[in-house]
Chain length 355, copies 2
DNA sequence: CATCTAAAGTCATACGTATTACCAAGTCAT
DNA sequence: ATGACTTGGTAATACGTATGACTTTAGATG
């Protein structure tokens, strides 16, 4: 017999019934099974190398122990790290994570919760290329959803469903929302960054903002504006750009017309574009222009000069978010968590040029 | 009744038996069910919004429709993209993907296939922090494994298991191995890169190599050496470095002592370190030193000057690999695929300085 | 007309688990 | 001594699907 052992095999080996095995291994035997019997069951399970069959358990329990992770893209070190943290915690608790890359701006019909019409999936799976995202949640049942705020509009639909909506935790979303949220305290991060530059003597600020209208970026902008407003005589100009090097470069050129001495960027990728714009304009970083970012992805260290930025605890974010989701699935109360960012001072910030 | 419909509900609605529904929806009704009946079943399923219960199907079929993805890290745009492609194809075929970040050099005891002793997972899951990777495959059953070559040593154990080893496809591994493999033709990529530089007039080459002993990097080195050997009067020096900016910088300093005019790097990240070394040495890129990379991650475009590199089709790699794995699971024959890289000429390569 | 075959379905069952209801044997209070 | 209660366990069942063994009916064949 080479097939993998079942709980019944364990029962036979331990001289008890299958129910007893199930009860003991679930840890619910207080007052139902004697200690020696429980011990015997554990030993038999160990000896046989028993692992519960998840499919059977899922069927019985009506859950899938699977979590959907909705994220704009994994081709970003930030979300990759978030995923890593989330997946680690999930795995440790017997959950799988299915990722659903959902680029911001994707049409609503492509939402992971909208099933294609008439598509009852067959068990056969002729391998081949697939175009575009596919519908995950429609047939791969899920117990919960971990979603980046960039997918916020797809979630309205989810929440409106009548058939038992899965548990939901939002990532980097507005903590004031009724939905449990785990995010980075970007407002504080921005204030720290401004304080750092103000301390160096800067008063003319430029904000290279991400052009995505989600909480995290809105908040960065507001916090930055508030912090600058508190500085006597300080000015602020702002320009939005898509999160890409090229777009940032163009937008930064516009900002530079106002001759700021410090440029704060909503993301490190934007900072890379700002570097290029500065070079185009013949400005030295940090001699003529200080540049600060947010994220601390690999890029920050690779740029020349190395980028002063705020490190966002991406892996911890994923871990905490998954922990909150599992807690929710376990019947615990929803929690909203905020993690601090860390200012990493490198070589891209310095006192402003004398005038 | 608000619970989700089962195949029995569909059967009642269509006026047939549950078995018939199952047969029809599986698409296996050739000669077993009349066309009108099949039609009725499909309509009923559509009308009720029926989705098969995966847990039940998995239990019945003894499979999990889950694939393990073993990867050194997701905090790298490259593997993030590979994952994205793989997950997309998997999802389209009803498979989930569980990722197992397995940093190169991880101790064998932490292999995803080695279960911790005595750890029969309980269904309860007190949320909380977890340290280090956890054991996925030991209890979360899987049908197949997609593994980066960097996890090669953990796989020996897998293949030696007696209890029905899962199907396996290797990523970026030696195509000569008996294991089905999907990889990028890095040898050809390297030759293309050398040809580009040789065409510009370079004869003194330096190779900034990754210090990981896996097929993909070994092959890059060999192909580079072979290509240089074919150039009359060409020389080559090599230095290995960990895949990180700092380590690459140090190693590049050593290389520069031999005054190469062109530096080829096993990865874009290494190229970033080479940039820093060049700057340290007062060399202009590309005026005094041409630098070429491999990967074409975001970084390549962000560097100044923008990096000439070979674009590896990461997403396509993941897609093809998953397709090959699904084909294998479907009883198809193992296939080994090789995808071409694309040379992307940017601003970091130019003719060598006059002497 | 009797028999055979094909077509079109249905029946029954098993996958492995978790849980509810039940039961036997002591123990204790009255 | 008898009922009530506790302790320690078992039997039975349901979750939803896929499938091999059957059944029925109609048409073809001898």
């Amino acid at each position: 017999m080479t097939r993998r052992p079942t709980s019944r095999d364990v029962a036979v080996a331990a001289g008890v019934s299958q129910s007893t095995v199930s009860i003991v291994l679930a840890g619910k035997w207080a007052g139902r099974v004697s200690a020696p019997t429980a011990q015997a069951v554990h030993e038999a399970a160990e000896r046989l190398g028993y692992r519960p069959n998840l499919a059977a358990r899922n069927l019985r329990l009506g859950q899938t122990r699977t979590v959907l992770f909705v994220v704009p893209t994994l081709t970003s070190p930030f979300f990759g790290a978030v995923y890593t943290g989330a997946a680690r915690v999930a795995a440790a608790h017997g959950f799988g994570v299915v990722v659903y890359p959902w680029p911001a701006g994707t049409a609503r019909e492509r939402s992971p919760f909208a099933a294609p019409r008439g598509a009852v999936p067959a068990p056969s799976h002729p391998a081949g290329a697939v175009e575009g995202p596919s519908w995950v949640a429609s047939w791969k049942e899920i117990d919960g959803v971990l979603a980046s705020s960039m997918a916020a509009d797809a979630l309205a639909e989810l929440l409106a469903r009548d058939d038992g909506s899965p548990a939901l935790v939002m990532l980097d979303s507005d903590p004031a929302d009724p939905v449990p949220t785990v995010n980075v305290d970007v407002a504080e991060s921005m204030r720290t960054l401004v304080a750092h530059l103000a301390g160096l003597g800067h008063r003319r600020f430029g904000h290279l903002a991400a052009d995505i209208d989600v909480w995290t970026f809105r908040t960065r902008g507001e916090a930055l504006a508030a912090a600058v407003a508190e500085l006597p005589g300080a000015t602020l100009v702002r320009q939005a750009a898509p999160i890409a090097v090229d777009g940032a470069r163009t937008a930064a050129h516009v900002l530079l017309r106002d001759a700021p001495t410090a440029l704060l960027c909503d993301a490190d990728v934007l900072a890379a574009g700002a570097y290029k714009a500065a070079r185009d304009a013949g400005l030295d970083v940090p001699g003529d222009l200080s540049i600060g970012g947010i994220d601390d992805i690999l890029l920050a260290e690779a740029l020349e000069p190395e980028l002063t930025t705020v490190r966002l605890p991406a892996e911890a974010l994923g871990e905490r978010a998954m922990a909150a989701l599992l807690e929710l699935l376990d019947g615990g109360r929803p929690q909203t968590v905020s993690l601090p960012g860390d200012l990493v001072v490198r070589a891209s910030t310095a006192p402003p040029p004398d005038r």
